[in-house]
Symmetry: C2
Subunit: 224 residues, 2 copies
Amino acid sequence: MREGPDIARIASLVGDPARANMLSALMGGTALTASELALEAGVSLPTASSHLSKLMEGGLLTLASQGRHRYYGLAGPQVAGMIEAITGVAEAVGPKRVRPGPRDAAMRVARVCYDHLAGEQAVAMLDRLVDRKVLLRDDKEIRLGHSAAAHFSALGIDVEAKARRPVCRACLDWSVRRSHLAGTLGAAILDKILAEKWARREKDSRAVVFSPGGRRQFERVFLG
Amino acid sequence: MREGPDIARIASLVGDPARANMLSALMGGTALTASELALEAGVSLPTASSHLSKLMEGGLLTLASQGRHRYYGLAGPQVAGMIEAITGVAEAVGPKRVRPGPRDAAMRVARVCYDHLAGEQAVAMLDRLVDRKVLLRDDKEIRLGHSAAAHFSALGIDVEAKARRPVCRACLDWSVRRSHLAGTLGAAILDKILAEKWARREKDSRAVVFSPGGRRQFERVFLG
DNA sequence: GCGACACTTCGAGCACGGTCGAAACATTGC
DNA sequence: GCAATGTTTCGACCGTGCTCGAAGTGTCGC
């Protein structure tokens, strides 16, 4: 029996799929709440809470309480580096990943992430909005550009409306490894897409499926 | 549910104590057999074999068959880097390690590692033998010095005796993070220590306990 | 060939840990 | 104060996977 640091303890914390998903979600750098992490991991709130307390006890997370919101984040760059290293090995040894089925393909294109859109479409949208300087991205932070108010009010979205949550936030999209738009603006855009019936949510899934016409509308407005 | 590489799968492979011990043992760089790894991990041979096939399937190990010996080694530097990263986090977050009890203290001083001596005494012995140029250490490899034959034959150990296993081998000692002496010479020295009754093996443990007189003899011969 | 050795596979037992619903707790807003 | 919201704790269920003894497979030495 070897001695030394208890590496099995740490590795087994990462070794549960739900916890691994949570940690991957937190690799984006932004702290998330228990509810958001439960959604990301695909488990119920009590289960997520249990996992989070284990990760806390293991020293892998930090907790910032703000009123009734509790934001969980990675404990530090060392932990992030470890996740990176594990991800690298998983990528290297696991190109034998199961071929994505039709449902997974839909998820890859567009899906709900908490209350906003994720997937290839969402990543393309954010890229285009930044290109057009509607939004400004410095590093990890996203801010409104000068034309943002006019641009979004034309769509019936009031970006000036004060909200407790940040208006814009970057959210790392694992399927394409790029950020997409979160925050109240991201939520408002998803609302718009669903309200206009450009797309509908797949039942019992996070996939978002665009209708042919809806896709054209979406691309005209956001990717044009 | 996030997509991307299956990091939980890899992490859970490392997350079992037996497998973690095996991987730590292999961090020394030398490939080991299933029996040696079973001893290191403190599990039976069937259990070890099962773990090894899982690690193989997960792509974390390579296997070199040589006759009826099968040497397992880490699959590559990327895997080693991952173990390093996990070890680093475990060290950082886990200084709350349980205080070693009396039995653990004995293990730390001297214990059996397969068929040779490990622990602080063994590390000190190798250091001294290298200082006196009885053994020569380049990097990870250990060779016999010119005075080795004379030195050991005085102790009744024939280093010229041909053996299938290498005469000298470095074996990483986790409790002190330094190498100690393995191979047939390491085995012969342990035999000598036990035959001369300088020390005895603790029952149901790998600890080796020196008698006061035996310790003096050992230190005179190997640390003098 | 045969025995000895190194290792793997099989089968069954068992415990740990993940899971969720319901309920308790905490904080905010009215 | 009370209702609404976000989160944790409790209790019970259930499955995965770790474990070992015994038997089977393959390789070496004589």
